[in-house]
């Protein structure tokens, strides 16, 4: 039996805001029952999803919910800046989970809520304005159909209050057109990227959300609170643990993964390229980095903005300067994966992907698959609406991104559903780089990475320790598939806790469970490390409960042949290893 937790009486964390877009109504319900059991973030959002999402429903049905949740540490400790979004994924048909930073988490917590549940469907485009305990339904008709999503955000920014204290969520054209990997952007450069939250927004005619507030959060012991705050702040600003994110950023991994032969190149036909030089994190920083920015309440400032200066063809003294956010995943997916290793071309393509509002990893993998399909004459130029494409040809890819976001041909319409969907119709499954119907991240590190993508609760590299097991262990020693799966599941439990309290996974080196236990105690939660670990396991199982309910089966997972053909750092990606790992996991989870 678990002991009763007791949240601080006045903590607004347990207030859940329910919004009905059909009836344009809202109400608040206290859900201490959920927060005391599952802390917040992922843990609470999973339960809300199980409650609110009817079994087997179409992800675009009006009853299909959008859930946002933050955690007890949000607004109290640094690096607790993530919002967890949950929904039924239109991309995979099962669990949709995506996390974003920016000001999203702070704004939701400071507005006086721990979670938001949005259901229903508006008959006209709207955006929500949430502040001072009110939800206003604003007409967004004029914002609908804009080709650059950032313009819609600018309009909301200029029409709404709460400067410096607000988050602005919005979708782009891809979301409006319900491309199943459309994202939701917050604060221009952060995203609820994966698994298609933007498409759900689009299906509900919800263009965006502006939310703000600045309330107080009570702590149980003011002196201890300040002391622990200082300890964490010091670790975040001074320890080498955060250095990587702080300096060159995640892009620093491009060089090392390329030399280790772990970086997907040209649809993973190769795992390294000799042309990597100009797009390594170091080189992009040297020539293009213009500014570093941070999520609210995180001193690390890992967001790297490059400035792209481009001349207009018709006037030699007329330039445009475009700020573009880049990191490892973008250099991989919109760079090496499609043969682009020229930084200006890469930045141009990233900018277009931002404008239309899609997950960059999914889009990059889809572009790569299309290129190979075209090379192999499995599709025609007519399928591509007349667009010419080839590896590294950025102009072709820019056109293609715009076309997939607003597809005309039957083939491109299929591509707007992802690479799994399209390859089931047009062939090319053996090189359609999806895992559990989600396009792969940029880690061809070894079998643990792939088992992680397949078994992880939300199919993102950061959600499991797979790539780290490959790089730290499998590269040197042998582990059995069973051992790898056990390690993955163990690590998942910890990461469920991190995303429930809800801290950034980049801070996982700082927020060890012991520290988590100390920190949440100041917010009224009395749980030791072991108890937290158990809750983490439970949350992971709850996610699986939803996945299985919606038809996910380990035995149905399909693995593209390509991963077995391309050199990797461990040399251990074999069908046998992956199959044994999956079989073992199936017995554990079923």
């Amino acid at each position: 039996m678990r002991k009763e937790l007791a949240m601080i009486e006045n903590d607004t964390l347990s207030r859940v805001l329910y919004i009905d877009l059909s009836k344009k109504r809202y109400f608040v319900k206290d859900r201490k029952d959920l927060f005391e059991k599952y802390l917040g973030g992922t843990g609470v959002a999973t339960q809300l999803l199980l409650e609110e999402c009817p079994e087997g429903i179409d992800a675009f049905a009006k009853e299909s919910p959008i859930i946002f949740a933050v955690g007890p540490l949000t607004g109290a400790f640094p690096l607790a800046s993530k919002t967890c979004a949950m929904f039924k994924s239109p991309h995979t048909g099962d669990l949709g989970e995506s996390h974003a930073g920016g000001r999203s988490a702070i704004a939701i917590r400071m507005a006086g809520y721990g979670a938001i549940v949005i259901k229903g469907k508006s008959e006209l485009p709207i955006y929500l304005s949430i502040s001072n305990g009110k939800v206003l339904f604003k007409n967004a008709t004029t914002l609908w159909g804009m080709k650059d999503g950032s313009i819609a955000a600018r309009v909301m920014r200029q029409s709404e209050g709460g400067e410096g204290l607000r988050a602005i969520f919005r979708i782009g054209q891809a979301g409006e057109n319900m491309a199943t990997f459309a994202n939701v952007t917050t604060e221009t450069y952060r995203h609820f990227g994966r698994l298609g939250l933007g498409a759900i927004f689009g299906s509900k005619m919800l263009k965006g959300i502006v939310i703000s507030g600045k309330q107080m959060i009570e702590v149980t012991n003011k002196k201890e609170y300040r002391a622990l705050y200082d300890q964490i702040y010091k670790a975040a600003t001074e320890s080498p643990l955060m250095q990587k994110y702080h300096d060159v950023g995640t892009a620093i991994n491009i060089k090392s993964l390329n030399s280790a032969k772990a970086l997907p190149v040209k649809n993973l036909q190769m795992s390294s390229t000799e042309d990597i030089g100009p797009v390594t994190g170091e080189e992009i920083a040297k020539h293009h980095l213009a500014r570093r920015v941070a999520c609210a309440h995180c001193p690390v400032a890992c967001i790297h903005l490059a400035y792209l200066r481009e001349a207009y063809d018709d006037d030699p003294y007329f330039y445009k300067t475009i700020p573009v956010c880049y990191d490892f995943e973008l250099i991989y997916s919109l760079g090496t994966m499609i043969g682009i290793t020229e930084p200006k071309a890469l930045l141009k393509l990233i900018d277009i992907v931002e404008q239309v509002g899609v997950d960059a990893m999914s889009m990059g993998v889809i572009l790569a698959w299309i290129t190979e399909m075209f090379e192999k004459n499995m599709i025609t130029k007519e399928d591509l609406n007349g667009i010419s494409i080839s590896w590294g040809n950025v102009e072709g890819y820019i056109e293609l991104v715009r076309n997939i976001s607003k597809p005309i041909t039957v083939f491109l319409k299929a591509c707007a559903h992802g690479v799994d969907y399209a390859s089931k119709i047009y062939g090319g499954k053996e090189f359609a780089m999806q895992f559990g119907k989600n396009e792969m991240p940029g880690y061809h590190t070894g079998p643990a990475g792939y088992l992680g993508f397949l078994l992880g609760a939300r199919h993102s590299h950061l959600d499991n320790g797979g790539y780290s097991i490959d790089q730290k262990e499998l590269i040197k020693i042998d582990l059995s598939p069973e051992q790898v799966v056990n390690k993955l599941l163990d690590e998942e439990a910890i990461r469920q806790i991190l995303s429930s309290i809800a801290v950034c996974f980049f801070a996982r080196g700082i927020y060890e469970l012991k520290l988590v236990s100390e920190a949440i105690k100041l917010l009224g939660f009395d749980l030791n490390e072991n108890e937290l670990h158990e809750i983490g396991k439970q949350i992971h199982l709850n996610k699986y409960k939803f996945k299985m309910r919606e038809g996910f089966r380990i035995e149905k997972l399909e693995v593209p042949e390509r991963i077995y053909e391309t050199t990797d750092p461990t040399g251990k990606i074999t069908k046998k290893f992956i199959k044994e790992g999956l079989d073992y996991a199936q017995n554990l989870i079923n």
Binding site: E163, G164, L165, T188, K214, Y225, R291, A294, H297, P299
Partner: protein
Amino acid sequence: MKLAVKDVMRCVGCQSCMFACSRRSGNAGLSNTCIGVKSTGGISRGYTVIVCRSCKNPPCASVCPTGALVPQKGGGVRLISSKCIGCGLCKDACIIDAVFWNEEQNKPVICVQCGYCVEYCPYEVLELIKDEKGVSHD
């Protein structure tokens, strides 16, 4: 002592200063902050950092109908909370928006130039200028 913005171009918008300021009360959140960080028309254009400039002849005190804001020798004001009726005139009088508002108490929060926020700025955006006379610095 006077709080000043040393180099706004280095601001990353982490708002650690705002949380520090509010944390002086001992609690978490942002209700008590009297320093503000906001984007300058979108994050890509950088940030605006708002701090009280501790004016010598403070407009906020001039408009206070109850004498709750008392000008200090050398500049700036102190709030006598018991006298404040929460009318908000001081907030409107400050053209740089450096009179912040505690919504829960419906009263202004005024910078006391303590410099606690400076300790939590990892990028040296802020500084506390030591000056016996409390003369304004740019």
